[in-house]
């Protein structure tokens, strides 16, 4: 009986219902100039691809968790898509030129894909340079500062002052000092993500439980091994808080910097087309940024889960 129930919900569930609804909506007449008389190829391909992924997971995914995650993500995307189609192409509630239908946006995405890939790679490259430098130097300097007792107090004050300054204010300074604009973006990302990583590492390291230090001491652990095997693992969860915060800041700064004066990257893409009022491309840019951020956040969370697998659940 139970098994049957499960089989039943594997077919009749919210995601599949939404998929059918999406098809039915396609049959409704279009109400906007650009959408009229057009077969919605891109929308259909997109939603069917998602549905295919969902079906594959529900048939072959043995982990309940994976199935549930897929179900909730895909059904959310379907709901958003459904509302978007209804509000634009079908009922034309919103301003047609500012809010294009998903079909037009997806078509644009397909047309611009090679350019978008280049822009995304350029953004990621800038991000990687600035963010990784900040993470490495933040962890090293933060640990050193956290371990030296004399420096502790003064560093805590200086850090709490400096990390409150929005890094975007350094842009004019960086433009004046650095030879290439790409270096400006990298520098600003570095500053933005350095402080959270540094201050979290610093507080994590200076607050390592004395018991672990004693344990390491009675085992006669040398300095390098003590840092690598005891202090860093003990403050790892705080370091990750800093890294996550830093990543969030660095995205804000990356796109801002690209929009202010860059000549490549997703932020530049959005900025460039907003000058022409090309809202299809603006939405494409926003969606691409959203997807990239989600993927990176997902990856960093996976890494965190793996490295902190020893923690009690």
């Amino acid at each position: 009986m139970k098994y049957k129930d499960r089989k039943f919900t594997r077919i009749l569930n919210i995601t599949n219902i939404l998929y059918i609804l999406l098809w039915l909506v396609q049959l409704m007449p279009d109400n906007t100039v650009e959408d009229q008389g057009k077969f919605t190829v891109y929308t259909v391909v997109f939603m069917s691809a998602l549905e295919a992924v969902f079906i594959i997971i529900s048939l072959f995914g043995y982990k309940k968790q994976l199935y549930n995650t897929a179900k909730s993500i895909i059904s959310t995307v379907f709901t958003a898509l459904l509302l978007w189609i209804l509000a634009t192409a079908k009922f034309n509630i919103l301003n047609e030129s500012m809010f294009p239908s998903p079909e037009l946006v997806l078509q644009q995405l397909a047309e611009d894909h090679s350019r978008l890939i280049n822009d995304a790679l350029s953004s990621l490259q800038t991000l990687a340079k600035g963010y990784l430098t900040a993470v490495v130097s933040g962890i090293i300097l933060g640990s050193l500062a956290g371990m030296s007792k004399k420096l502790c107090d003064s560093i805590a004050y200086i850090t709490s002052f400096l990390k409150l300054i929005p890094p975007i204010v350094y842009i004019p300074y960086a433009i004046a000092c650095l030879p290439y604009y790409s270096m400006v973006s990298t520098f600003v990302i570095f500053v933005a993500s350095f402080w959270p990583v540094f201050s979290c590492t610093f507080s994590g390291v200076s607050n390592v439980d004395k018991q672990y230090i004693d344990s390491a001491n009675v085992l006669n652990v040398n300095v390098i091994s003590r840092i690598w095997n005891v202090i860093l693992p003990a403050s790892l969860s705080e370091i990750f808080i800093g890294c996550n915060q830093g990543l969030a800041y660095s995205f804000i700064l990356l796109t801002s910097a690209e929009m202010i004066g860059g000549s490549s990257g997703i932020g530049y893409y959005i900025k460039y087309y907003s000058d022409f009022g090309d809202f299809k491309r603006i939405i494409v840019g926003i969606l691409v940024i959203g997807v990239i951020i989600s993927i990176l956040t997902f990856l960093i969370n996976k890494l965190e889960k793996y490295l902190l697998r020893w923690k009690a659940k």
Partner: protein, 270 residues
């Protein structure tokens, strides 16, 4: 020759301007291969004394000699088991033990470390738990791993600071018997020298050759008592003997006698 000689150890703390004496002129010695328990009520400085032996604390006055040489800081000649948190939570049971071995025996290969680690985890009955992290083990199992690590490091001296203090009564008995078995071992020749801090009288009698009783504020050696029971000991048999009962009563009256003296020797409501 005595393995450990504790000479005139005094520890003073400055506490809000006033001087607080935690230990005053503590002197006693531990023979090679001897199992000595330090017993006393909480606050008598027994753990402070052990932390000086471990090398993580320094006395205000006095010295501790090991094999005739004064100790300077921590050393891999002493294996330590704390009451809690001896293990690193980010290392599996096996890696915790292997890490200790690596520290004690420089230059030992990884494969060799793992082999010794497995062997000692097997001795404490945790063979099938070797890949678990401390958070996945019960308190008793964590102490078993800590004991396995201390033993696997193969140090001549073992310092244990209330290792079973945070374990429930049933598991504590099991662990005491395990420690007794591992320490008495087969080869009686090169037994480890153990200094064991506890507040449990039965534990002290069962395990030790000699008991050093301490009194509080300031912490001093109150009495040294030799435990007269033959080894190997068996708890079930031992506790039924008349001698055990008498000896235990004697210790208890000494222990509480000390408290009564401190309070004033008149009315004590227990």
């Amino acid at each position: 020759m005595n393995k450990i000689e504790i000479k005139h150890i005094t520890v003073n703390y400055a506490d809000k301007g006033s001087l607080f004496t935690a230990l005053e002129d503590v002197t006693f010695s531990v023979g090679a291969g001897e199992f000595v328990s330090i017993i006393g009520s909480s606050g008598c400085g027994k753990s402070t004394l052990l932390s000086i032996l471990e090398g993580i604390n320094t006395p205000s006055k006095g010295t501790i000699l090991i094999d005739g040489k004064p100790i300077e800081g921590t050393g891999t000649d002493r294996g330590v088991v704390f009451q809690q948190y001896s293990l690193f939570p980010w290392m599996s049971a096996r890696n915790n033990v292997a890490f200790g071995i690596k520290q004690a025996k420089k230059g030992i290969s990884r494969a060799e470390r793992m082999k010794i680690s497995d062997e000692f985890l097997d001795k404490v009955g945790l063979k099938s738990f070797k890949n678990k992290y401390p958070s996945q083990l019960s308190g008793g199992m964590q102490q078993r791993v800590a004991i396995a690590r201390a033993l696997a490091m193969d140090t001549e001296i073992l310092l244990m600071d209330e290792p079973f203090g945070a374990i429930d009564a049933k598991n504590r008995t099991v662990l005491q018997e395990l420690l007794l078995k591992l320490w008495e071992g087969d080869g009686v020749q090169d037994k480890k020298t153990v200094v064991f801090v506890t507040h449990d009288i039965d534990e002290a009698i069962l395990l030790s050759d000699r008991i050093v009783m301490m009194s509080a504020s300031p912490g001093k050696v109150y009495k040294e008592i030799t435990v007269p029971f033959k080894r190997p000991r068996n708890r079930a048999e031992l506790v039924q003997t008349r001698e055990y009962g008498l000896f235990r009563n004697e210790l208890i009256s000494l222990f509480y006698g000390d408290i009564i003296n401190k309070i004033g020797g008149e009315e004590v409501v227990l």
